[in-house]
Amino acid sequence: MTALLVGLGLWIVGGVAGLFGGRRQPAVSAALAVVGSALGLGAAAHVLQTGAPESFRAAWPMPYGEIHMAVDPLSAVFLAPIFLLGALASVYSIGYLHGRDDRQVGRAVFLFHLLAVSMCVVVCVKNAILFLLAWEMMAISSFLLVLLDSRQSEVRHAGWMYLVATHIGTAFILVLFAWMGTVAGSFDFDDWRSLPSSSESRAGAWFVLALIGFGAKAGFWPVHVWLPEAHPAAPSHVSAVMSGVMIKTGIYGLVRVVTFLGPPPAWWGMALLSAGLVSGVLGVLFALAQHDVKRLLAYHSVENIGIIALGLGGALLGQAYGMEEAAVFGLAGALLHVVNHALFKGLLFMGAGSVLHATGTRDVEKLGGLLKQMPATGTTFLIGSASISGLPPLNGFVSEFLIYVCFFKLALGGPAVCGAAGAAAIAGLALIGGLAAACFTKVFGVMFLGERRTPLAASEAPLSMTAPMAVLAAACILIGLFPAVSASVLIFPVLASETDHLLSMTSVLTWVQLSAAVLVGLGIAVIFFRAWIFRGRPVSRAVTWDCGYSAPTSRMQYTASSFVQPFIDLFQPLIQPRERRHDPHGYFPKAASYESHADDLATRGIFGPLFGWIQTFAEKWLWIQQGRVQTYLLYVFLTLAALLSFQMFQ
């Protein structure tokens, strides 16, 4: 615990140091962050190894309890990616922020460190009031980070949307915690563990509050609307952290609250499962339709949060139907996916940031052929793409595999309803996997392969940016190659379940590990075989097969829009794209063009009308705003009088 606190202290020192500026300053802060993270990771690893929670209590001169922080295995699983990705993003920001003016850099460093510390506090704190404070600090610091480039109007719009969305979520959490605190008579999480679970409907209400409140942070559909706005607007290392770990605090909160609520009824599992399916499928569909690479990645966060929710839903269903083993697989898959998503999404956002840094654009249609100029960024981006598509032998496959097994077990052993839910989840996961693979072939292919589409100059990012990406890519590969080891180190301490379930999971994962080894071994053998067979063979260079056309240009390449056009056509009722097309006419057609834009379904269909209605309602009260100071004083006076009289008559 001391190591953790010292680590957090170093992070804070690094952040404050940022405010003093200086040319080498970001490097100093990053160094402090790395040391702090190492300490924090050590603390988390210790807890995961021993399985025993460590706690820290201190008096607090405020009402409602004391400072109570504890790291149990669940916290540790969330802490590990926060520290890892936080430190790497801090290093990355040295190169990424290079060249901006000093004050902006200082502000970014300070806020970033504040964000990292508040995330750590959120997952460790054991007091509801303190949790809300840390939660709010996390929201505000990330909001200010999103606004770093606030000169652009779309950034201001994104920041505003984020602020509103996150506070709507916080409002639900506030109600939830106040209610639970009143019932329990305390705001300490330890006292909530033995909450009177006599009333099932009350527990249900709490679950719904938690689902909406934490879901808004995590990005469940339809409360995900802030994600595709805020992630592209934020600087890339911030997007990496926000998408990689900050939204996971929502998952953490949900899991933590569910542990307080006692044995779950089946409908909780069904609710989470539906939320997961809808988020997963719509998230990846809208990702397909995007051309802005960071916006696309943001939609993929919605998709991956959906996958995590599916795993959690499976775990709840397993508990509800008494299928402990399925529940264990679901929970393990969901938690491992939390870690994995932090790794590959952090990697992908950093890669997108490198491209943005090098070329100045996020529009994939303007890019192309970058792998030749940016080999390190491109290669790591490819590894991240394959991981997020859930391909073996990489880490994304391992967690999706566990979730699949959970649903197969539910469908095999459960009653018909449970089986139908399992079947729906399996079909959904399969569809999501296929669509994600399609989306990432598109984005990797269009950005990094082929030829340049516009004369944008690009060069490889500095080492401070490529090194963090290399670390993340290596982590993706390691977890993928050694799933049994990673799961037993990272996840098993949290499960605290019957040993034979863990044994069965270990045995399955050992087989996956073996298969990965066979696959990789065979791949290496084929590479050597290929190299051997090519000895002394003529290998020449020519142009790509052009079908006999003699003047091909790079603009004839398949674009991202054309790549996804069949998808948009097929899923048109769900995506409802705005299309602008000028078809070619006549024998000598003039320039023809096709564009498609996908506006968010929830923004357009739910929140737009809702907030429009609120606005018209609010405008009816505009007459209150007079602009005369005396009138306002009158309001104050009247309010006071009303309150006094209310007090008097009570």
């Binding site: 018909a416 309803v417 139908a420 097929l570 009722p573």
Partner: protein, 217 residues
């Protein structure tokens, strides 16, 4: 009931559902009518257990179903299609992929509902209830989702087929006379529909029912 009879019955019921999906998917009315004919023939196999038990009414009913649903009504419909020149499903409200998926959702719900119908005796009773419910709902879906009058007649026939399956499930077959009466009612309805559609087509040169909106005041 012997195993092979049960097996045949469940096979027939599964095929009925598949014809539903085919009709939801197809873009040509003639193909849809062929599938309706096939469905009628399949339904005529359903009174098989009673027929094997030696009930002459059941044999008669099977033959009647086969002739009316498998031959006569399809013939009428094909004639109507040819006389109105409306061969293709035009601009349905839901595309084929969406309507097949919706049909699948209906099927899943129907299995839940079909299991709830009381009085199941035979192992395939639950299946029969589910398939009947699914077919009725599927017929409604087709009626809602087609613009041309022919499409709606096809939907109606499927709906009626579903009712037949359900009636066999619930009461082991309605009394023979009523069953036959219904059969001829439906035949009559199909003939009237056919004549109606043809005269509407002759008058307006289309039978797009969504354009009936103009008629309201």
């Amino acid at each position: 009931m012997t195993a092979w009879v049960t097996g045949t019955l469940s096979g027939v019921l599964v095929l009925v559902v598949i014809t539903n999906f085919y009709i939801l998917n197809t873009g040509r009315y003639v193909n849809a009518v062929r599938a309706v004919a096939l469905q009628g023939c399949l339904l005529s196999l359903l009174p098989l257990p009673q027929a094997l038990a030696g009930s002459p009414e059941a044999v008669f009913l099977a033959a009647g179903t086969m002739i009316v649903k498998g031959v006569l009504m399809p013939l009428i419909l094909v004639r109507v299609i040819h006389s109105t020149d409306e061969f293709r499903v035009v601009h349905p409200f839901l595309g084929p992929v969406a309507s097949v998926l919706l049909g699948f959702a209906i099927l899943a719900v129907a299995f839940r509902a079909g299991a709830a119908i009381p009085g199941a005796v035979h192992p395939h009773d639950a299946l029969m209830g589910a398939v009947g419910t699914a077919t009725v709902l599927c017929g409604m879906l087709i009626m809602v989702n087609r613009r041309k009058a022919v499409g709606q007649v096809i939907g109606f026939l499927i709906l009626e087929n579903g009712v037949l399956v359900l009636s066999l499930r619930i009461s082991r077959g309605l009394p023979f006379v009523i069953e036959l009466a219904i059969l001829f009612d439906v035949l009559l309805a199909a003939m009237i529909f056919g004549g109606f559609i043809q005269s509407v087509h002759a008058q307006f040169s289309h039978t797009d029912v969504s354009r009936m909106r103009k008629l309201k005041g």
